[in-house]
């Protein structure tokens, strides 16, 4: 029961913030993808930097749980390509379509239904596709901390992400702070 309440609370907070960030608005997302407004990509990249610093703090305090997902050269890359096609077409991703459907955006409700269909089809083919596409090039749960340790790895990541936020601001054109 605690898990459900924590999940609900976390979801409400997450859904509210991504709505305020404009990430549930497919018009905003299209302008981000078309490099006309850098606000959403800057927000996403900066959010990762803030989270990474926070997680480093949690690790130091011995709080929380981590789970690094494996990298499969083929499956992670091919999955990302398929995902990117759907994201560019619709302007929604799996998280934003729940929040946008909650807002009452009808096109997001169709994205959510399409998502349930896509999940069902993949789950049906899991036993066939995973051994062919995922397993052969699975490199395991690689992380920058394997080479640099958590503190140096996080520092390096935050510097790269900070540079990305700065570059997006220049390349996408001026956007408000």
């Amino acid at each position: 029961m605690t898990a459900v309440l924590l999940g609900l609370l976390s979801g409400v907070a997450f859904g509210f913030v991504i709505q305020r960030a404009g990430a549930t608005d497919a018009n905003e997302m299209a302008h981000a993808h078309l490099m006309l407004n850098g606000r959403i990509p800057r927000f996403m990249v900066a959010a990762v930097a803030v989270s990474a610093l926070g997680l480093l703090g949690l690790q130091a305090a011995g709080v929380g749980r981590m789970l690094v997902l494996p990298t499969s050269l083929v499956a992670t890359g091919l999955g990302a390509v398929i995902f990117g096609i759907g994201w560019g077409m619709s302007g929604y991703c799996p998280g934003t379509c729940w929040a946008a459907a909650g807002e009452g955006r009808m096109d997001a409700i169709f994205a959510l239904l399409g998502g349930l269909a896509g999940t069902a089809v993949f789950a049906h083919l899991h036993e066939t596709l995973i051994p062919i596409l995922y397993a052969p090039t699975n490199l395991g749960p690689l992380a920058l901390s394997d080479w640099l340790g958590p503190a140096l790895g996080t520092t390096a990541l935050v510097i790269v992400l900070g540079a990305a936020v700065w570059l997006i601001g220049i390349i996408w054109g001026p956007s408000e702070v």
């Binding site: 509210f16 404009g22 934003t96 239904l113 993949f122």
Partner: protein, 177 residues
């Protein structure tokens, strides 16, 4: 005037990133890495455990995920509630068809809904193949310095930006988002 309107549409990237980073760190502390495409699997698993229990039990993709009553499912339902709360308390009107789509293809709903259904299908199929989505793989993964998250993030942005150009061509140019 146009600049002012643009500024006021949503929160700035910096405030949004600080708020979302805070939510993500809270989730790492109280649950573990957040994910949203997994919520599609748990939702379907809940439905199938009523409609076709034998099928759901025999498929590995459902066996790997918790079902109804899990944090993951509560999280996506919470996200819809958070989106609802956000949309009801915000000045930007909620639309069924985004403005940029309407300028490119006209106000017809059928075409937009068919596209977001197909897009939703692809984002979930791709996410389940890769092992996660924008949140579960890119944001959660990169926060933990995972190579899989950074790899996935770079590819989804690149492909979505390319596809958005094919879909919208130069529709967004010269218009304030």
């Amino acid at each position: 005037m146009a600049e002012l309107e643009k500024r006021e549409r949503y929160w700035s990237w910096l405030s949004s990133a600080a708020a979302l980073g805070g939510v993500i760190v809270f989730i790492f502390a109280t649950f573990g890495p957040p994910a949203s495409s997994s919520g599609f699997v748990t939702t379907l698993k809940g439905f199938l455990s009523l409609a076709a229990p034998d099928y759901a039990e025999g498929k590995e993709h459902y066996a790997l995920m918790p079902g109804v009553g899990s944090w993951l499912m509560a999280f996506v339902i919470g996200m819809a509630m958070g989106g609802w709360l956000g949309g009801r308390t915000w000045r930007v009107p909620v639309k069924d068809v985004p403005e940029i789509w309407e300028r490119r293809f006209g106000p017809g709903r059928a075409r937009r809904y068919a596209t977001t259904f197909a897009g939703g299908f692809l984002i979930l199929f791709g996410a389940r193949l890769a092992g996660g989505c924008t949140l579960g793989l890119f944001i959660s993964g990169s926060t933990q310095l995972a190579v899989s998250g950074l790899y996935f993030g770079v590819v989804i942005f690149a492909v979505a930006m390319l596809v958005a150009r094919l879909v919208y061509r130069d529709t967004g140019r010269g218009v304030i988002s």
